[in-house]
């Protein structure tokens, strides 16, 4: 699958890229919300993984934009340190398909992304 990752922390971004490439995915990395929005429109990834707190556009705004422009065809997974109930609820209300709170296990991320792989091919 083609996965777009939006994360402003360089170290985290590299780790996510490494893990996802190890699982055989094509990975598009972006460092902020604006770059993420642009690349989503240009490259049409199969899955979007995004942090919430980012420059220019937040992860929640990205969910809103993706679900409006590409309803039902582009799952969005949130990875965030903001695990408060209100934030999680808002993300799901906006249409997020999954929410992973930091600290998270890379193996867990791998398994969660695989779920969308299965539904992608069925």
């Amino acid at each position: 699958m083609k996965i777009l990752v939006a994360e402003d922390d360089d170290l985290m971004l590299k780790m996510l890229e490494f893990r996802l490439k190890k699982d055989g995915h094509e990975v598009i990395v972006t460092h902020d919300g604006r770059e993420a929005m642009d690349k989503i429109d240009q490259l049409m990834p199969d899955v979007v993984i995004t942090d919430i707190m980012m420059p220019y556009f937040s992860g929640l705004e990205i969910i809103g934009a993706v679900k409006t422009k590409y309803p039902g065809i582009m799952p969005v997974i949130i990875i965030s340190g903001m695990g408060q109930e209100s934030v999680v609820l808002e993300a799901f209300q906006l249409g997020a398909d999954d929410f992973i709170t930091k600290p998270f296990s890379p193996n867990e991320l791998s398994v969660r992304v695989k779920r969308f792989e299965k539904s992608f091919f069925t």
Partner: protein, 366 residues
């Protein structure tokens, strides 16, 4: 007259000489500045190149640890760390690497996090942190304690315990959080001997840390009698949060504590930890304290009050304070049918009270 052209000539020569000197000085100054700028740019360039190289090495090492799936051999550890071990003597690399390692540890859980902890230990970074504990600067100490806590260096919990009563507030706070993280409820034994006050914020942090742990039986009776009033307040919060019903009688004694903050916290606590006599004790102390305490008592009575408290509560309906009236009305309404009937029947020309009664009826209906 004859000397005058000579004088002019002489003056001219002197002026030219001075001018030349000035020009020379300025030229030298400019050359010096240019030389300094060149040197600085060269140094900066080298520094940035090194920094980029260190970041690359650091990132690779951390990723290797995070994604290392095999069982770690205690003799060899995580492979590929020889270069990093040699670089650890370099203060710049060590600082950068430690910061990135800590940042990664904060974001990663599970086996990957364990590997990061192992890497920290393998590169002996805790020894550098321990050295910083001897620093004269409080911020260096506090940062070192925070680092050891984040990297989960439990084996150093005894080394950190001594700092739970450090004279510096930030060092104390970090050490207290550390011992609670490492020892759970057992870590709270620093409350036995702490002489400094525990701030409200620190109490919140500690309670938050404890909330992630499974509940454990803790004996807080000693802390409720502590000469440190912040310890008493914190112990009351623990009693409330962990349903210390066996502490009820000791908590009652806190209603007579000389410190108003302790008395207030005791009232809040008794709103959760009570028996059928608790309301009597609260009401008997009602008029001794200020409005803040009175309000807290009435709010507690909303939860623990019964019909025997109705007469007292109905006397408050005529009070001048709006909040007291409103909460007394709520307490009456929640005490039972008789209390609600008393509220409804209360005959007074006070429009405010009528509005309050209407509001409370609405709250009950909702």
């Amino acid at each position: 007259m004859i000397s005058s052209p000579l004088f002019v000539l002489a003056s001219l020569v002197v002026s030219l000489h001075t001018l030349g000197l000035v020009i020379l000085i300025f030229t030298n100054l400019i050359l010096l500045i240019l030389a300094f700028m060149l040197f600085f740019m060269l140094w900066k360039g080298t520094h940035e190149k090194n920094h980029d190289r260190y970041r690359l090495i650091s990132g690779l090492l951390i990723r290797r640890a995070v994604f290392y799936d095999d069982q770690i051999d205690p003799e060899t550890g995580i492979p590929g760390t020889k270069k990093a071990t040699r670089l650890m003597v370099n203060k710049v690399f060590r600082k950068l690497f430690t910061e990135e390692l800590i940042s990664a540890k904060k974001n990663i859980a599970g086996m990957a996090a364990e590997n990061l902890k192992y890497l920290y230990h393998q590169l002996k970074l805790e020894s550098f942190a321990l050295k910083k504990l001897n620093s004269a600067h409080w911020h260096t100490k506090a940062k070192a304690i925070q680092e050891l806590t984040l990297m989960d260096m439990r084996e150093l919990k005894d080394d950190l315990f001594v700092y739970t009563n450090d004279k510096n507030e930030y060092v104390r706070m970090e050490a207290q959080v550390a011992v609670v993280q490492f020892n759970g409820f057992e870590g709270l034994r620093f409350l036995d001997s702490i002489t400094y006050a525990i701030s409200e914020w620190q109490q919140i942090k500690l309670l938050h840390k404890l909330s992630n742990l499974p509940p454990a039986h803790i004996d807080i009776s000693g802390w409720l009698k502590s000469p440190n009033t912040s310890v008493v307040v914190f112990a009351l919060k623990l009693a409330r949060n962990y349903h210390g019903f066996e502490m009820h009688d000791v908590i009652l004694t806190c209603l007579d504590h000389p410190d108003p903050q302790v008395r207030l916290q005791a009232i809040h606590c008794l709103g959760e930890i009570y028996n059928d006599e608790t309301s009597v004790h609260l009401i008997s102390r009602f008029w001794r304290d200020d409005v803040r305490h009175q309000l807290a008592i009435i709010k507690a009575l909303q939860n623990i009050g019964s019909e025997k408290d109705n007469i007292f509560l109905s006397t408050l309906l005529g009070n001048d304070d709006y909040d007291l009236k409103l909460n007394a009305a709520r307490a009456l309404a929640s005490s039972g049918l008789k209390g609600f009937a008393l509220l409804v029947e209360y005959n007074d020309a006070d429009l405010v009270l009528n509005d309050i009664i209407t509001q409370v009826r609405g709250e009950l209906a909702a």
